[in-house]
Symmetry: C2
């Protein structure tokens, strides 16, 4: 078949499918995606230059996985466009040829979002790495998709501003927008939902959208539907984010870090709720359970007390911060002591602050070091604060009962926590045990009004929970959005919404590493 006749055939194919896609059928019909033919690779090479197109096994393998548990699913081709017009060209070509498109930033996702489960073309956006604009008076910066959060903050150093959202990894900011990332600072500064003012997005048909209008970045707007927040968290399934305008903050005059141990999980969580109820504008409040604290001591040769522990951070002017620290931990009727907290330590000096927080910063590596050679699955539930201690305590019991090593850390100011479940290579059926445990933790969260994912996204692994969480109408509404923007289902197919081929439990069928 010539390329032209192939395209005609595929267009006819679309027209035939279209009635099913647009007339309210519940699921996508099963369909064949186009393969990336040699002719298409040639077309890509001629448009982008040979140095920006690769079909090598090693490159494809590198782009077939993220930091999650899922085994690699390499794309057929990887391309590195250097501007938005080239992104548009690649996406348009994919749309014409029914080829899946997978946007790729730093590959630091946690739910298999970049796996090329249906083949297709991976668009690596790291060569578009310019900070386009910084406006200190407007508290905004505009970045291309190759700019990571650390790169932006390094760039901003002399302006007195920073972008505080910190998911741990040095992720690309547009990738963070795509997954609606948050992390430790969200309790004070919000998530990507609250901190993206505008985005440039290449739609599946190749058109270039500016979600708040080109070049606009006001603190408020109510001009039509909130397209910005439709694309934040869409995980690459509605379009390719090629630029983001972000809200910046003044670097705090002063920061104070503190830690404190508690006799049990409940009292640590109660302390958290009370600090929030007092309206103390805490910047970070992180929880590590005793298993995690023990892991940190072993990993970093430290001597923290092995007990449920809160790590706190305060941002502000020197005087307001001292006031906050006093309210939390030092006055006679303070929150920490009333809940049985002990060993309250705090530090203002940067080096000393780093030392205090060392356990929190090393938590992920310390956890994995508990079982050398293991794979780790991080659960990500988020529940109402009133249910948080109950859910953490019960999850802890389940983990022990299953005989799994599973330290826990939590962004407890937001009700979000992770159990880092380790599938030890020496144990039979370890991965299935971990998956079952992760499911039971997610289901418990759902049963108390929570969500299966506070910040990692649905990706591949949590599609099975989507209908339980949102109901049939919620999933149907999401399908309506998906079909409206991407009727040919080329954008990161198989993610977020279960495909027609999948049943609800399909998340399981993706093989683990």
């Amino acid at each position: 078949m010539t390329m032209h006749s192939r395209r005609v055939a595929q267009k006819l194919n679309f027209l035939l499918y279209r009635p099913f896609l647009t007339c309210g059928a519940k699921k996508y019909v099963s369909r064949e995606y186009g393969k990336v033919s040699a002719a298409i690779v040639d077309e890509l090479t001629s448009a982008l230059g040979a140095e920006n197109v690769s079909t090598s096994v090693a490159v494809r393998e590198h782009h077939g996985h993220d930091e999650s548990f899922h085994s690699s699913k390499p794309p057929e081709v990887v391309v590195w466009p250097t501007n938005v017009e080239l992104v548009s060209k690649v996406v348009g070509l994919c749309n014409e040829n029914a080829i899946p498109v997978i946007p790729f930033g730093t590959g630091t996702g946690m739910e298999g979002g970049v796996l090329a489960v249906q083949g297709g073309i991976c668009i690596n956006l790291t060569k578009m790495d310019q900070v386009v604009d910084v406006s200190p008076d407007d508290f905004t910066a505009t970045v291309q998709p190759g700019v990571t959060r650390m790169a932006l903050n390094a760039y901003l150093r002399d302006t007195g501003m920073w972008f505080p959202i910190d998911p741990g990894a040095d992720a690309s900011l547009c990738g963070m927008a795509a997954t609606s990332a948050s992390g430790t600072n969200a309790v004070r500064y919000g998530t990507m939902r609250e901190n993206v003012a505008n985005m440039e997005v290449v739609l599946p048909d190749g058109r270039i959208l500016h979600t708040s209008g080109k070049g606009r970045a006001t603190k408020k707007t109510v001009a039509g539907y909130n397209l910005t927040n439709l694309f934040v968290g869409s995980e690459g399934t509605l379009g390719v984010i090629t630029q983001a305008t972000l809200r910046l903050y003044g670097i705090p005059e002063s920061m104070v870090s503190a830690i404190c141990s508690f006799p049990d999980i409940k009292s640590a969580i109660e302390t958290t709720v009370q600090i929030l109820q007092c309206g103390i504008p805490i910047a970070r409040i992180e929880f590590l359970d005793e298993v995690q604290m023990d892991a940190c001591n072993r990993y970093g040769k430290l001597d923290y007390r092995v007990a449920p522990t809160l790590f706190l951070e305060f941002h502000g002017s020197e005087k307001t911060i001292n006031q906050q620290v006093t309210e939390v931990g030092f006055s006679s009727g303070d929150v920490v002591r009333e809940n049985g907290g002990t060993d309250f330590q705090w530090a203002e000096d940067e080096e000393e602050r780093k030392r205090l927080w060392q356990a929190r910063h090393e938590a992920w590596y310390a956890a994995k070091a508990l079982a050398p050679g293991c794979t780790a699955y991080s659960t990500d539930v988020c529940v109402p604060l009133s249910k948080l201690s109950e859910v953490i305590v019960e999850s802890r019991k389940d983990i022990e009962a299953a005989g799994v090593k599973g330290p826990m850390i939590g962004h407890v100011g937001d009700g979000n926590f992770h159990a880092l479940l380790l599938a030890e290579p020496t144990k039979p059926d370890a991965k299935q045990t971990v998956i079952s445990l992760a499911k039971s933790i997610a289901r418990r969260a759902l049963s108390v009004g929570g969500t299966c994912t506070g910040e990692h996204g649905i990706g591949l692994g949590k599609r099975m929970f989507l209908e339980d969480e949102l109901g049939a109408v919620g999933v149907a509404a999401m399908r309506m959005v998906k079909r409206a923007f991407d009727p040919n289902n080329i954008m990161n197919p198989g993610k977020v919404l279960p495909s027609g081929d999948d049943d609800r439990e399909d998340g399981e069928s993706v093989k683990l590493q």
Copy 2:
């Protein structure tokens, strides 16, 4: 035609139209909406009870306008459903019969959002007025659409919590969600976008959607597309909001109000930007220009200095507040003095605070009193902070040049300001002059990266700016969303997105009062 044959005919009609509606045509095709026949009124009466259905002229007239400039467009029927199932029934009936549906809360909108420009059925939601749930530990409250913000705050009084979003009017909270309201507290607490955790929405086909899943209200979630923020600000064009779960805050231990005069607009706005850059967590920062201050003095028999003035409010614990007030206004290197601010006064006592802020609270009435019998149009642009003083100064000049009375007030911490343009009954062509002025103010905002609407919405009057603001692809993307959810265009037709019958300037053709 019998009712049955009428329905069959209308369904056929839909099937004929459907290809146009779903295949990417740029505009809606021109179409006839069904009239509300006697048979449909009978059906409504039998479902809702005679006391909950009205076709009286006075009732319809009352529901045909809001607080905007637009002359009344009464619906054909007004209904008062008492539960979500009845709302679903009414909407389903309208969908079958191609009848427009207009949700109605308190009628306090500012952009003609409730005008029944295509006829149809107005759903008055005020009989659904229960606070469904309050969870102080989770900082959430769930309300039916008849609950206003003042009613909720009265209900919450003993809990130590409050819902701070304050658009001025005692609007219904679900109406505030529908228009993405904000107001004076937004600089600290955000807008409705940031403060709605979940909504129950009746979709145009009658299905009931829970945007974050039924009964869920976590601080964070990234489970699929952000449907909550798709419906916040959708102005009744995608569905009927029948319940909202809102984020609450602890009532501040202490509040301090302050005012300060400035030699010119620029220095007042510079002060605002610097206060924000210092990271002082100010709760409100409102600007009144000298024309507005003069109006307030006349209206309230007050003796404020007639000069550009900032009204400030600080929320926090007693000690942190004192620190904030000091940083803003009292220390030797303080922000206010550096910008030439004078007459800095502050008060902590509630009565004294009210007295200080009296001019701000009475601003709207004081403005209208400048021209008895006038109609007033409130512009609503929002611009980047770096452009705010320039845009206010230039707008002030334009208002003077046009010989219009137009005091200005601004939520300047957000870059949002209103010119209250008065169409004086004694002046010929006053309304056209006011409309031209409003347009030039909107276009100036658009030219510097701003929006035509910071908080009032697009409604009827600003549809003409939508494409200038968002670009053709932006409007096309919004049309895709609208068609996906409401293929028959029954939900509040003619609002937000220009209809097929309208040209881009159609906002003008709606007659003024």
